[in-house]
Symmetry: C2
Subunit: 448 residues, 2 copies
């Protein structure tokens, strides 16, 4: 079964990638119209999921997340599809062009990755967003959503597939919905046909998938973000940024989990900077897990505060996802870099300083997908970056890093166009001709 699903997706992908941007975008416009026309049918299915959820005593917050009828959720789901349709085409961009010899030219063009296996949580509107991103980027997708929204996913997927098949050039099987966990584990062995797995869910899910497939996985298990308060930090900026990074949405992967403070500040500005900073954090409702070395140096109003606990070593590699923050003093920017590179999850880290030299060292030395200077880690997000939409945030070191939009779902291939050219005519392979290797401005190339 899994092999048929995967092979069908692969076959669909080889047609999908040959469609023009107009054909792909037009398909999304039609999907959006169909979703609106079938609103009643979809909301009926959603009601079934809601009732099952209530019967199973799921939490109120989860039930709220399942509800597609609340406020403008349905309409903004539809608008999201249109928004993606209107983004710039990520495909067939020429990113390199070289005249290899007279009549022999090399071009590098962007192309889809191929087949994506996307596993996501229970928010039903996500399926429309992912479908839009996949089709716009020319990738076939196999989708598995949280079981709590199964009926809604099924209704949405039916409408999407009926529309694609009847009204558009997008081939059948471009978007396939699967329903069971065992389907997922079978698909994870289909590395011949599936090119990229994108899990969007709990850390446990992501880890489990990474451990059980040879297919590249795009995503992040942890979001352990740090903020380093440098010797030359301005107190007001540090306070404001730390509070926002921690409290704006503590469950987000871009929330800060660790605060490193320069030792010089502790020695020379304890009362006028360090203590006021920590006090403000406590007042903002944050529980501070303070390294014992630093804790010793702090006055009672901090050290004996009910919001203060002594940090364990583990606290510095931990994603709290709550109003908790690990705090530690470090010798200087170099030690901050080493500490972060060793303990962070390569998501997003920030320096707060007015000193350009220290900022530059930090920006260059940190090994994460996002390195910030004087702004909140909460900006690490595809919408905030201006990507229009994101399929997730990657902490990988290859291919895509950080918030992944359309550009993160494409790769490239090389086209070579000749007129009977053979390698044996050239020096190094038996001949005497020499390669010209003249760079061509990719923007000047028209492949017609």
């Amino acid at each position: 079964m899994a092999d048929v699903i995967a092979k069908n997706a692969h076959l669909a992908s080889t047609v999908l990638k040959t469609l023009t941007d107009n054909e792909r975008s037009d398909a999304l416009v039609k999907v959006e119209r169909a979703l609106k026309l079938n609103k009643d049918r979809i909301l009926e299915a959603n009601l079934v999921d809601m009732e099952t959820a209530k019967k199973n005593n799921l939490s109120d917050s989860l039930i709220k997340r399942l509800d597609l009828s609340k406020n403008d959720k349905f309409d903004s789901m539809c608008q999201g599809v249109l928004d993606v349709a209107q983004l710039e085409d990520p495909l067939n961009k020429i990113t390199l062009a070289t005249k290899i010899d007279d009549g022999l030219n090399l071009y590098r063009l962007t192309c889809p990755v191929g087949v994506l296996l996307i596993i996501f949580e229970s928010r039903p509107e996500v399926i429309a967003n992912i479908t839009a991103l996949a089709i716009k980027s020319g990738n076939a997708a196999i989708l598995k959503g949280g079981k709590e929204s199964f009926n809604t996913f099924k209704a949405l997927s039916d409408v999407i597939n009926e529309t694609l098949t009847k009204e558009t050039k997008v081939p059948e099987n471009s978007i396939q919905l699967i329903s069971t966990r065992s389907d997922v584990s079978d698909l994870l062995s289909q590395d011949k046909y599936i090119d990229l797995v994108i899990p969007r869910g709990s850390n446990a899910l992501v880890r489990n998938i990474k451990d059980n497939t040879k297919i590249p996985v795009l995503g992040h298990a942890d979001g352990i973000c740090s903020i380093y308060v440098d010797e030359f930090a301005q107190l007001d900026k540090a306070t404001k940024i730390l509070i926002d990074s921690k409290t704006n949405y503590p469950a987000g992967c871009n929330a800060v989990e660790k605060c490193l403070i320069d030792e010089t500040l502790v020695k020379s500005n304890l009362d006028d900077k360090v203590v006021p900073l920590l006090k403000s954090l406590i007042e903002a409702g944050i529980t501070l897990h303070i390294d014992p070395e630093l804790l010793k140096l702090l006055p009672q109003e901090i050290s004996a505060n009910e919001k203060t606990v002594a940090a364990t070593e583990d606290d510095f590699s931990r994603e709290f996802l709550s109003f908790d923050l690990a705090v530690k003093a470090v010798k200087n920017v170099q030690e901050a870099i080493l500490h972060i590179n060793e303990h962070s999850s390569k998501h997003t880290d920030c320096i707060i300083t007015e000193n350009k030299e220290n900022a530059d060292r930090f920006l260059q030395g940190i090994d994460s997908s996002g390195v910030y200077w004087n702004c909140s880690t909460r900006f690490a997000d595809g919408f905030r970056y201006g990507f229009g939409a994101e399929v997730g945030i990657s902490t990988n070191k290859i291919h895509s890093r950080g918030p992944v939009g359309l550009e993160g779902l494409v790769c490239y291939y090389y086209q070579m166009r000749g007129d009977g050219h053979i390698a044996g005519d050239y020096a190094g392979a038996g001949g005497v001709r020499v390669f010209k290797h003249e760079k061509i401005d990719p923007n000047s190339v028209v492949l017609n």
Copy 2:
């Protein structure tokens, strides 16, 4: 042991990535000088390897490959290091710049991948080439070469490391040589510190590594390249290109293994095109493995030729690495695309045709890293592409594809520079400010 090697490489990489292009290139210039100065010492070690090889009755061709004293091998090894030093800096290129809001800017910059584990065969000169590519691209590297050249590798590595440590800003442990297979298997579990594995060797080696690590692997197990002779192919071009692609270097991964011929040619141009083409291939010394369906239609001079055998189904998924070629008729360009996408290794495939429409379908439909029109598959090579040097050829679908030079060894990260900006001030996160998302021309940005 493996964890120490890997962690030291990681620590070195975080310093190496902060060096300027001048510092990295200058280090290579000094390495080149040191190699020349220590030529005698290196060739002495090489002699030990050569004598051991003779004592162990290794094949003449292998012994020839080990020999670093032959012709200008040593000098061109040195020249290769200088050539890489002079290539354009692949790092810190700004590839995206966006004004997120007043005083808040987002930049995407190229950066090294981090730590590379490179496993290669016995040609001793390769270590200089790989060292040059790693340092120029700001990556730390752990190297394991074939055991037959161990003494030469050791001498080269000692000279390289003495020079780097004493005379350059490249930190210690940037280039580490390891010597045993068990070291390799231990290192394959160090996914916390090693970012990319690049195996350059036999298919068995590559497969074995892919099966035994969670670290991304850049490389290719097979090079199964195909050439499709379209209905509108010119006979002379098809003949010339097929013979070059097969015979120029049959052991190369870019040699052709499969020839698909359009059925219309078989039906309408059997005597004036198909038979002469196959005859020329036979005359060039190629053994044809012809699909039984096609074989039935061919005259005795081909079908009963001693260089002709009936193909098995397996022959169409096989890398012969010899003067053998699988041949089959397909209905049209669409069937050729399907056959290649199903059976090729996504390396390099070619269409021979004078028909632009068919060429376009092929160029767009084939799912390989190289898709060619009217030229030999043997051009799939970093030097021939004009990359200066290559670390290998990738058949992956993500990150790097095809011949991988410096650009394939970098990724990117996002810098965000603000002045106390917090997410909570913006719509969607509790505030009212709206993002500007104004595109900035990356070429106009000076980050000073």
